[in-house]
């Protein structure tokens, strides 16, 4: 390699950063008017005691919003794998979902 010997001379250097991926915007699911009488799925990604945490969320709804039905479900495998079966089941049977606690 040549020695660094440019002094105060302005030199070009190449940018070391890669090329970012294309971003495709995704719309959110429609929001609910209210949670009264609705069924919410609490989705446990099975990471770092997340199920224990969601049970407390479930307890909060029971105490404060008893008209909301909550169903605690575990993802079908580790959180690193997508779980289309669970998402389809929630779409078919639920009104909304809370997933947590995630990193």
């Amino acid at each position: 390699m040549p020695n660094e010997a440019y002094g105060s001379q302005k030199i070009p250097a190449l940018n070391p950063v890669g090329f970012p991926p294309k971003i495709t915007p995704k719309p959110m699911a429609p929001r609910l008017d209210s949670l009264d009488g609705k069924t919410l799925y609490l989705v446990d990604p099975r990471f770092d005691d997340s199920g224990l945490f969601l049970r407390q969320v479930q307890g909060w709804f029971a105490d404060h919003m008893p008209s909301v039905t909550t169903k605690l479900v575990e993802m079908s495998s580790v959180y690193t794998k997508d779980d289309p079966k669970t998402w389809e089941m929630i779409k078919a049977n639920g009104d909304g979902a809370i997933i947590g606690v995630g990193h």
């Binding site: 915007p25 995704k26 079908s76």
Partner: protein, 427 residues
């Protein structure tokens, strides 16, 4: 609606944006959730989001019910191109720019000038504009793309000599990042096999894993730099969450296998290459290290079992053996192939099932798979709590030989073998 722990705010923001969902709804609770009692977790739920200061459950309810009309779907703007050049400046200012842009590993770099990059590019038959691969810091992020020239830029920065470039290109093309964002503070380990070792003067002998060989040092450093820059960054709190960090990451534990002194088949031959091929193998994890001297006649089995029990059960063992230690394993255990040693390790790395399943990483990554019937985990799950079960899968256990025979020291590195990549394909 998603709930996260608060230290992941920047990660959540950038990942949702990169997936085209900047309008995603989320709230935060304090870190950690792991290990807290039900009462403590209920206090999180009843309490406030530590970032917004608003009640957690109010944010949850609003996240589910607040209309989406105000969201900016379809208006996302993202810098789609990366310029080929940084703005021309003085040498000192460019060094400052690279440092402040987090393009370095915080050690001084060689500035990637046109001349130096061209010299690097002359050592591969591949064109500068050819796409060399894709990298990302974890599987939840979209991979970034890069060209051969971009790899050369990072190789120059690391101080690598142009003749090392095919090894560096092979590493870049692997798709395996040396800068994973995991909270577990991963590093990579790189093992080079075949004729390229001698061609570029790599060290497989005395001090091979230490800072005494230019090729070992700079190839490993280049792998780290290219990983962070070509995947779009590795920034603590944003795209790097390793809680403690990992010093092995400075040069990705890069060394050549000592094929000449090894009593066994070279690592790349075990993985489908010919001995005359040049190849590079990548392992990730590299958090835990156990070591000892020699393989003692009377209690060697117990000593090795003790070392294995000290490893986290989720990081499989790779035996990194000085040639003296490798030959001692043959003397003691009649392991005249690596496979026989690996089989013994598999059969002797045992743990009571109750202890095994209670490891947090086993709970996070293995238990869910077991409960859905995936073998061999499902069978392990049927074991009684005090029944001894294998800690590792057999095909996750590996052995490589490195060292100069100044003594029979050896180590077990907890790491996961990822793949072996042809170097010759990048000449």
């Amino acid at each position: 609606m998603a709930l996260h722990t608060h230290v992941f705010k920047n990660v959540v923001t950038s990942v949702t944006q990169m997936h085209g969902m900047p309008q995603a709804r989320y709230a935060f609770v304090p870190q950690p959730v792991m290990g807290k009692t039900a009462e403590q977790l209920r206090a999180y739920v009843d309490g406030k989001d530590p970032l917004s200061g608003r009640p957690v459950m109010q944010e949850v309810i609003e996240g589910l019910t607040r209309p989406a009309e105000g969201d900016r779907v379809g208006e996302i703007e993202f810098q789609r191109s990366t310029p080929r050049l940084a703005d021309a400046d003085t040498e000192d200012n460019l060094h400052r720019l690279f440092l402040e842009n987090n393009w370095t590993d915080k050690l001084p770099i060689v500035l990637p000038t046109e001349e130096r990059v061209a010299e690097m590019l002359a050592h591969t038959s591949h064109k500068p504009e050819e796409v060399a691969g894709h990298l990302r810091s974890n599987q939840f992020r979209q991979p970034w793309k890069f060209t051969v020239e971009k790899v050369a830029v990072n190789a120059v920065m690391a101080g690598a000599r142009p003749e090392y470039f095919p090894v560096i290109l092979a590493l870049a093309s692997s798709g395996v990042s040396a800068r994973g964002s995991t909270t577990s503070s991963m590093a990579a380990m790189v093992v080079v096999n075949g004729p390229i070792r001698q061609e570029i003067g790599m060290n497989a002998g005395t001090g091979a894993m230490a800072p005494y060989n230019h090729a070992n040092a700079t190839i490993g450093r280049a792998y780290g730099l290219l990983s962070q820059n070509l995947q779009g960054g590795s920034l603590p709190g944003d795209s790097y969450m390793g809680s403690q960090g990992n010093n092995y990451a400075y040069n990705s534990m890069t060394f050549a296998e000592n094929e000449e002194a090894s009593p066994w088949e070279p690592f790349h031959v075990q993985h489908g290459f010919k001995a005359t091929d040049s190849a590079v193998s990548i392992f990730t994890g590299c958090r835990s290290t156990a070591f000892t001297l020699g393989v003692r006649e009377k209690y060697w089995r117990e000593h090795v079992r003790n070392m294995l029990r000290g490893m986290d059960a989720h990081s499989a063992p790779t035996f990194v053996l000085d040639p003296i230690a490798a030959r001692q394993f043959i003397d003691r255990g009649r392991f005249d192939t690596k496979e026989k040693l690996i089989q013994w390790v598999y059969e002797n790395a045992l743990m009571p099932a109750g202890e095994y399943w209670d490891y947090q990483l086993i709970q996070n990554y293995v238990y869910p798979r077991a409960t859905f019937g995936e073998e061999p985990y499902a069978s392990k799950l049927r074991a009684a709590p005090d029944e001894l079960i294998p800690m590792f899968k057999r095909d996750e256990i590996h052995a490589v030989v490195v060292g100069g025979e100044t003594n029979g020291y050896w180590r077990i590195i907890g790491c996961n073998y990822q793949k072996t990549v042809s170097v010759d394909a990048w000449r």
